[in-house]
Subunit: 345 residues, 2 copies
């Protein structure tokens, strides 16, 4: 047959089509497409030109069997609608595009059973590596299964204790301490913590830092002021109503993330109160939206774009040298003070 495409939906151009068109062997075509020095430059250029004109597409699946690389990096996240994870994913996708990798995506909504299913599926594609933020309550064995199958894995943002795998994240306790220091200096003595659970590293670290800080500064740790849950706008919105209804309501809250803090700010307005005037709110993450609010959100900046870039760099290093000792790369957060916090009234 001639090398022209027939226009049918699955009519793919093969090496044979190109070889027929030029009257050369398929080996010559294959070498030319890989720019091998074994083929004369003029032949190579002719083959590449014909391949382009016929719409030949290099087959990564076949190539990956030969080179044992797929150039795919799997990313497993709980939620990509939260702008924190959206922005983190964007940083990862951008960094990996620079190294010629494409992102294979799976999400699991903080459900550890769904996480195991999704990671199992991602594993079947034989990605060159994986970047994972573990689900609430995830077991070490779930991530070990991936690593034991020979797939380099870096944990990002959250980690599973004792799993012995790379981790890139924030110093959660330090961030919470900075937020509490700021509120304490403003005179607040009844401070709530909204969001997070003890079954995720970020939640446990922040809630423990809160308990320790309050005890060290002579404030009682009260269950009613510790609102547990996943960090969503809905949680913040509902929590602030409950907190304001307490006999002795708090005057401030540190939130698990910015999303929760936005919910708190909106809930306050529904109660005719204003963040930064009647109540102080500190977020965590510093998503782009935080600076644009009015008042702007005081928040713990987690440098999540850096976090994404560094997770990619660590993964690429481990792909080159699988024997690297696992590392914990912990980024120092910084408190960004804006208008949502004020002196106790």
């Amino acid at each position: 047959m001639s090398g022209s495409t027939d226009g049918s939906a699955r009519g793919r151009v093969t090496l044979q089509h190109i070889a027929d068109e030029l009257g050369v062997s398929t080996a010559t075509v294959s070498l030319s497409l890989r720019s091998s020095p074994l083929v004369a430059a003029a032949t190579r250029d002719r083959v590449q030109a014909v391949a382009r004109s016929l719409g030949y597409v290099y087959n990564r699946s076949a190539a990956s069997l030969r080179t044992a690389r797929t150039n795919m990096i799997a990313v497993g996240f709980n939620d990509i609608v939260n702008p924190y994870f959206g922005e983190l994913l964007a940083a990862i996708e951008e960094t990996l595009a620079g190294s010629g990798h494409t992102v294979l995506l799976g999400t699991y909504s903080d459900d550890p059973v769904k996480q195991d299913r999704v990671l199992g599926t991602l594993k079947e594609y034989r990605p060159d590596g994986m970047i994972v933020c573990p689900a609430n309550g995830a077991r070490a064995a779930s991530l070990r299964d991936v690593a034991d199958a020979g797939i380099p894995l870096v944990q990002v943002s959250r980690e599973i204790s004792g799993v012995g795998l790379d981790f890139v994240g924030s110093n959660d306790a330090l961030g919470t301490e900075a937020a509490l220091d700021h509120l304490f200096a403003l005179g607040h003595r009844r401070i709530a913590i909204i969001g997070g659970t003890d079954a995720m590293s970020t939640g446990a670290n922040r809630r423990n830092a809160y308990r320790t800080y309050l005890a060290a500064h002579g404030m009682a740790v009260e269950a009613a002021l510790m609102v547990e849950g996943f960090g969503t706008r809905d949680l913040g919105f509902a929590a602030v109503h409950g907190l304001l209804d307490l006999t002795s309501p708090p005057t401030a809250a540190v939130c698990f993330n910015d999303l929760t803090a936005f919910g708190v700010m909106l809930g306050l307005r529904h109660r005719n109160r204003e963040a930064g005037r009647d109540f102080s709110v500190v977020g965590c993450d510093d998503v782009k939206e935080a600076a644009l609010w009015a008042p702007g959100l005081t928040t713990v900046k987690n440098h999540h774009a850096d976090m994404g870039r560094r997770a990619c760099e660590r993964l690429l290093a481990r792909m080159v040298n699988p024997a690297l000792t696992p590392e914990r790369i912990v980024i120092e957060p910084t408190l960004v003070v804006r208008g949502s916090t004020t002196s106790v009234g």
Copy 2:
């Protein structure tokens, strides 16, 4: 060698390991792993148990060469940080998980050159199909290249005129008319339009509907009231400052998307004005956040989760039957009235 894994980072278990462990042929192992009726149930169960205990991972790359399917769907989006696209991607990812497909992701920031490069890379992975939201200014040839390579493609949210490929999106003009009808009924006669360009279908459709509506209702179409640009919070924030500084400022604005409208609402507060009191704002999309704002955002609901699901369904139908005639599936938007719009003062 025995079938036990050596624990080295890339030490993958093969069919041969499992065959050696059980003293059966690799053909028996292969058939057993695919649950073939050619193998006795007891043998099959033994093989599968050993495969599991050794940590054998089915190789999708090898399987895809045999079946000519990769079970990957490529998704090309401009931006996943905008919650509209984040929520759309989440709906797509969830729908495709149900049909056993995994999402391969590429983004291109409304840059048509970057789009072509990203789509070219995605194409090399031989996805079973692609879902694409074209970049601002994208050419028909860019999407035709994908389809001509035998990869079924569905356009979502935006479409390229005359490309002759499936499209699932919103009736943009109808949405803009509904927003303008609402503002007109509230007495507004100077209405701005913020965001969108004529080089993307959604922008062109909405800007044209705005021009037509104003002319039909005796309002002059003024360049100063038509703020062109990509739909971001920053654009809305900056635009409202410029509009309020006009000699004869508008009393209301329809926005390209909710993100732009949130920027407008924040910009208003920076000027000591309040949406729904001193100025009326209508968004477009109805992202989850819109209902939580105070005041809530009046917006054109685009039903983007439905849009995502229907794009997946259309793609799956085309994968089964590539000869289907291309369709335009246009979802009717609905106006959701909340507190950000009010009678002209």
